[in-house]
């Protein structure tokens, strides 16, 4: 699905020479890397393992969908880990669990997503009102989220007993877990927002040329806050999905997802300078990261290296994206 759509949108950018070629890069890389691992490892090319990869990619895909909007604006978001921790604890305390008598089901899940929105909104407000650069604002918000999660954790791990939430990670439909389908739905929703709403188009425009947009009379601040809020909602849902996988609410639910999501988005072709890329690029990026990490484990590399591999590919991908513009931007902070 992602492949054909990426190609279908390519002609719209014909004015930029080579753009369609650049868009085709990540999907081609995905196919090549998949092919290499499939040739190297018999376990890797098994149907079970492909299901594993897609299931494991679900949470990362949802988080990456959120962060993609922020990156499209040229901002950065490091708050995913904190927001996911807070929402994981919220949902595990609101659905049926061993800590209290709550049993709100879907309402609890909604509350956790709303909490994610609130945290995202906080990041956005710190950015536009206090003028705090987004990486600092979201670093702060992440710490606040972790603190809130720690407070709710209160030393006793809440194990969920809600059958619906538990079934998300276990039950399968057409071979994939419910979580994978939720992730696919999130990508679809993200794509619709990006393609058909003013919010999505302005996010692109803010990343491409914020000054021009401001001069043409668009009040960009509300849209910035809205984008961070939207991203927060995705992180909130990500936290819920991790809780479903673990069967318990943990403060560390979102550990590492912030960086993995940035890696996936950047590898998929979303530039950190903003204005390029999109949800479908990110979806390809997520699959790339998951295939790479899964494949490396299958051929015998220690799973501890996963973070290291992500670190290397993010630096390499950013460097590769910057090379064509080296002469233009002299100042890099």
């Amino acid at each position: 699905m992602t492949l054909t759509s990426a190609v279908a949108t390519a002609p719209r950018r014909q004015s930029r020479r080579g753009a369609s070629f650049r868009d085709a890069g990540p999907p081609v890389a995905l196919v090549v890397i998949f092919g290499i691992f499939a040739a190297l490892s018999p376990q890797f090319r098994s149907v079970d393992n492909v299901q594993n990869i897609v299931d494991a990619a679900a949470v990362l895909a949802v988080v990456t969908s959120g962060i993609t909007f922020v990156l499209m604006m040229g901002s950065i978001d490091l708050s995913a880990a904190g927001v996911m921790g807070a929402s994981a604890l919220t949902v595990s305390l609101l659905v049926a669990n061993n800590r209290n008598d709550n049993d709100y089901g879907l309402l609890g899940i909604g509350a956790a997503v709303l909490l994610g929105c609130a945290f995202g909104c906080l990041s956005g407000l710190a950015l536009v009102l206090l003028k705090v650069p987004s990486f600092m604002a979201t670093l702060g918000v992440s710490a606040i989220g972790l603190g809130v999660a720690t407070l709710m954790f209160a030393g006793v791990q809440p194990n969920i007993t809600d059958t619906m939430l538990e079934s998300w990670a276990i039950e399968r439909f057409l071979g994939f877990s419910y979580l994978a389908w939720i992730a696919a739905a999130c990508i679809l929703v993200g794509w619709l927002i990006q393609r058909y709403t003013r919010l999505g188009r302005y996010a692109f425009a803010i990343g491409g040329a914020e000054e021009v947009l401001t001069l043409s009379g668009v009040r960009v601040k509300p849209y910035k806050v809205a984008v961070f809020t939207l991203a927060g909602a995705f992180y909130g849902l990500g936290g819920v999905m991790v809780t479903s996988q673990l069967g318990a609410g943990l403060v560390q639910a979102g550990d590492g997802y912030d960086f993995s999501a940035i890696t996936a988005a950047v590898v998929g072709g979303t530039l950190l300078t903003g204005g390029r890329g999109g949800i479908l690029h990110s979806a390809v990026g997520v699959l790339l990261v998951m295939v790479l990490t899964n494949g490396l484990v299958q051929v015998g590399v220690s799973p501890y290296w996963q973070g290291g591999v992500e670190g290397l590919i993010v630096v390499a991908a950013v460097a590769a994206a910057v090379i064509p513009q080296r002469r233009r931007n002299q100042v890099v902070k």
Partner: protein, 319 residues
């Protein structure tokens, strides 16, 4: 240097004294809350806790002064504790300088990647954080590495004259050395010029790239030295031992009043900032606030302090 800037804008003048005011207020407030706080014993304990944080923050301050950020310091310190613990049996006294040299090299490599590949510093160091953590996990086998013979690093855990913790004295020395070297050489103006306006500095002939790589190198070395302090205190090295020092270190820098936009600030400010952060940390339980609020507090003070010290006139578009 701060005075001529402060003369033009009132807020800057206030933020110039902010860390000292905060420090005095905190000590006063904690003394009121608990009369036992202002004793030699608890002050010594606070200084001892603050020492690694001071060193980490001092090094990273140089990077912030250049207008960048180093998010890898804590992960680098963690890796350094593992390396030190592994190398102590074989290298003995040489292990300490070896670890600091390796940490400095890793810092310099990140600086080179930032300068040569033109990648924003936060993404280089975020990538570095991830890579260094992975290396630490692999090298240590994801477990704590015990130090059996700590005779060569024990000096850092001793007390000078029976009262002053040696680690705090060394942290002070590190800050003083950095400050003096910056003042007696043209480095201070080079760093400030790079931070205030990189393109102008470049046109004026400042070796901007070299200054940046140097800043990252010092930042790495400081992370290495902070690791030595941690090992001397905990008798072990761990792949995540220093990871929770990243937020306090960033908080210390911005609370000290060093502008995240670069140019304005100093290592002395970060020393004061680190003391403020440490006092907040040890003070929370004293006034009866659960330590879970610690994280929330760090988050809030980072955002507020950055907002207060930001040079808003310099950047029209904040991303």
């Amino acid at each position: 240097m701060t005075t001529h800037v402060a003369a033009f804008r009132l807020p800057v003048r206030i933020t110039g004294f902010m860390p000292l005011i905060a420090l005095v207020t905190l000590v006063a407030a904690l003394t009121v809350a608990d009369a036992d706080f202002l004793t030699q014993r608890s002050l010594t304990a606070a200084l001892r806790t603050a020492a690694p944080l001071i060193v980490l923050a001092a090094g990273a301050t140089l990077v912030v002064l250049c207008g960048g950020i180093d998010l890898s310091i804590a992960a680098l310190a963690s890796l350094s504790t593992v390396l030190l613990a592994l190398w102590l049996p074989d290298l003995g006294a040489l292990a300490t300088p070896a670890v600091i040299a390796v940490a400095a090299t890793i810092g310099a490599v990140q600086g080179l990647a930032h300068v040569l590949l033109r990648i924003p510093s936060f993404i280089v160091t975020l990538g570095g954080l991830s890579i260094l953590s992975a290396v630490a996990l692999v090298v240590s086998g994801a477990g704590t590495v015990r130090v059996v013979d700590d005779s060569t690093v024990k000096w850092l855990d001793l007390y000078l004259g029976g009262y002053l913790p040696m680690s705090a004295v060394m942290a002070f020395v590190v800050v003083a050395v950095i400050a003096v070297v910056l003042t007696v050489t043209p480095l201070k103006s080079w760093i400030s010029a790079t931070g205030y306006s990189e393109s102008a500095a470049r046109l004026a002939g400042t070796p901007v790239d070299l200054v940046k790589v140097g800043a990252f190198c010092v930042s790495g070395a400081c992370a290495g030295f902070a690791a030595v302090m941690l090992v001397s205190r905990q008798f072990s090295g761990g792949p995540t031992m220093a990871d929770n020092l990243l937020l306090p270190a960033v908080a210390a820098i911005v609370v000290g009043g060093t502008a995240i936009t670069g140019g304005h600030g100093s290592v002395w400010r970060s020393l004061a900032g680190a003391l403020v952060v440490t006092l907040l940390r040890v003070g929370l339980p004293i006034v009866g606030v659960p330590s879970a609020y610690e994280q929330i507090l760090y988050g809030v003070i980072i955002v507020v302090a950055v907002a207060l010290t930001l040079d808003g006139s310099k950047v029209s578009i904040i991303k």
